[in-house]
Amino acid sequence: MIDSMRRTLHRLRSFFGKEPLDRELTAEFASHLDFAIDENLRRGMSPQEARRQAMIRFGGVEQAKEQHRETRGLPSLDIFLQDLRYTLRTLRRDRAFTIVAVLILALGIGANIVVFSVVSTILLRPLPFRDPQQLTWIAPPPQSCGMSCATYSADGYEEFRAQSKSYQDVTGYMAFSTADNLRLTGHGEPVPATGIEVIGNFFQVLGVQPAMGRLFTPDEARHGASPVVLLADHWWRRQFSADPAIVGKKIDLNGTPVTVIGVLPTSFDFGAVFSPGARIDAFTPEVLDDERQWGNIVTMIGRLKPGVSVSQAWAEATIVAPNLYFNVKHPETLGRYKDAIIPVPLKDYVSGRLRRSLIVLWCAVGLILLIVCVNLSNLLLARTASRTREFAMRTALGASRGRLVRQLLTESLVLSGAGAILGLGFAFALITWLAHQGSIALPLLSSIKVDGVALVWTILIAIAAAVLFGLAPGLKMSSGNLQEALKDSGPGTSEGKKHERIRGALVISEVALACVLLIGAGLLMRSFLKVLDIDLGFQPEHAASIKLDYDDSAPSEEASVAKRSVIFQQVLERVRALPGVEGAGIADFLPLGQNRAWGTPTPKGKTYPEGSLPGPLVYVVTPGFVEAMGMRLHGRDFAWSDNSKSERVVLINSSAARFFWPGEDAAGKVLTDGDRDLHVVGVVDDIHADSVEGQPGWQIYYPVLQAGPEGAQLVIRTSLPPAALSGSVLHALRELNPKQPAAEFRPIRTIVDRAVSPRRFFVLLVTVFAEFGLLLATLGIYGVISYSVAQQTQEIGIRMALGATQGHVLRGVLQKTMLLAVTGIVLGTVASLVVARWIASLLFGTAPTDPATFAAMIFVMTIVALVAGYIPARRAARIDPMVALRGN
């Protein structure tokens, strides 16, 4: 150990102190020879003979020196440096080639780094919690009634927590909070903020420690406790200027003084994990005692005991679930959660849906790298072809085959290294940009960064790429026939068939790979267009929404309704009077946002087995809302006269109407929710309330004066660009209610955009990759054809001199191009059929064998190939036979 260290040290010292050591060695050799000459002289030789004999006995001085250097220093490093210097020199000479090669590599490697970082952030890295593998997401199986069917009641949660033995602890959060649900006052104008109620032990279960202050105590989650809040790091920095003494201070939230008890760490981003695309500013303890009558409201997250597997926990849950009450005060609710408690690893819940997409993305970007390598292989081959004689000369001078391959690999390593560095720059810029894209609803995206793992990955792919694109030309080069290469007069004579075949095969594979990418991207693109084309049931264009602040608190329910009626009518009247406003309405929830269900009203007189009907999503709306959203209504809209004194009315959607009264007009029919009649006054076309891509379920609308809305979203339809209205609307709202915060004025379009943003993100990336692949394939075709035209200048000249027309030559070159392109396209199409089946689950409304997409992409590929071949073909056709023949 010490021995080898000493040797390495010696070698290093020798490596860096070459010159003095060489001088010393020369002196030593000289003294050696002097000794030998002295001795020979003493033996009676003539001075000349003495010297000659001494030299003979010594052997080759240069060899001895070389041997000495190799022994004492680091010969491989020496050779590497030699190769490096040589490489840099040749690359500098061939500047155009170097720039193109490095740029292509940088794009290819950069794309790989970006995708790797995304994949690593979303799929590979563990969640940013303590022992994240123990955390499970507990939810019922997917149903069509939105979040109310994906959550549990306060009693359900507490019962489950008490009865389950698989978990160290179970926690959860309020699933029904909306953006901008808090109003911070006391800092000038009221500021909107988004808060969420979490069960008291939430942070303890996740294993999140506050950066400052403390977490909630059990007492703070009891009814009547003095209100406290934990701040998210970003809000503390932005809103409170990172006040180091914030803990213990009181802030005014929704008009109540609340004590700040702590600030959460930077690493904790609730939205990134649980609600992608949303930003949560503040956390308050959920007081379950106040919420026992509210139905399903909380999500459940459990931390498994060490050694307990998810499937064991599931097995236990199926036994525990039938013993749980939805509401302990109502014995008949026992067993409502039967088969509705399924734990899955939290990581799967957060990123499981994206796994397939991300893997596809990863493969796509891998294909790109492959195409880049093939392309560079081709470029290098073209380059080495012109260096044949250089290498033959070096072989003749004694360079071994391995030494030449090594030299060529050094060149590829330098190229790919430069590409990797530049690519890292690209990737860094893109990733920094991505991390700040709040509008892309991908989990964990805000924590994306180029980390150590990504750097290692970069180095790996750079080396792999270098070997991949450097080896073929290297072997090709060094295996050439020395004699022939030296004799070869270079340009002018046609090259051997073998060489051309290799390049042809490379171009064909490049075209095939690009074709696969292009068709895959085409299918995804078509799916995306289909998604954008979906009739959402409402018109997202020319509409915007803003969270409305109002206070309808009153001693009695009736007084509260009256107060609400006045406030809402005033607001709508004022807003409708604004120039450019075509319609306005209020609803508590918006489509594609939060939702909830209240059980299923059924037609009066009919009975259905319990649990056999889906629960419609509930929207509590004002008159005018349906119109403002651009929904299609048959029958009448609500009126302000639909109040607590009149008969109860509802609107239902057409799916529910068709189910209850097939073939009949539902307007005028009567539903009952058990104790009250609900008169259906109109039918609204289905809206995509839960997701853009899923099938809409049932929806039901109640008037604001007959049901309690949870908050209010003001929706405005306008002929102007929505952003142009934000100032005047806020001004009008402030006049009526000075406490109205400057909440975000969101075009409805952005809500839809956010919902489709993951698909948009993937399609965008895959399309960019496909275009890049197409460009590379084009370059490949162009390179090969123009090279072969250049090589055959003389041949073409002769043929033209013998009577071939320009058309002949042009056709000949194009034929050659098309042979390559068509072979590649055919191979690529066959491969695409396989790939398409594999990505079928990512497609929407598009068959994996969609003929239109295949035809279009094959057409594009063919045209591009033709263009790439046409340019050199024209050059060939314009060859002047006389010039060409004189050329050599």
């Binding site: 021995d3 050799f29 003294s31 050696h32 002097d34 000794f35 080759g60 041997q67």
Partner: protein
Amino acid sequence: MGEAKLDLLQGTLDLMVLQTLAAMGSQHGYGIARRIEQVSGDAVLLNQGTIYASLVRLQQRGWISAEWGTSDNNRKAKFYEITKLGRKQLAEDAAHWQRLAGVMGRVLAMQEEGGQ
């Protein structure tokens, strides 16, 4: 041309140099080379230049040390000397060689008998 000279096995030159230095004390490269040639009765094929690679190798391992000095006939030369570590190594290697030579001798002897 007479009998062909012996090619040196890898590693044997190092051992010879070490032994020579142990026997002669401080010595320069030429002296070592001459000494080996004399002792071997000029039976080994030795380009004297190759001895320097061996010397560097031994130095790197810390088995010999080197210093510039002046020879008896007043020439500047680099003198090599075996170190304590070198002596230890020499003892080990010599024992190893002797065992190996013994075994080889016996094996070869056996083959001759078997051939009769």
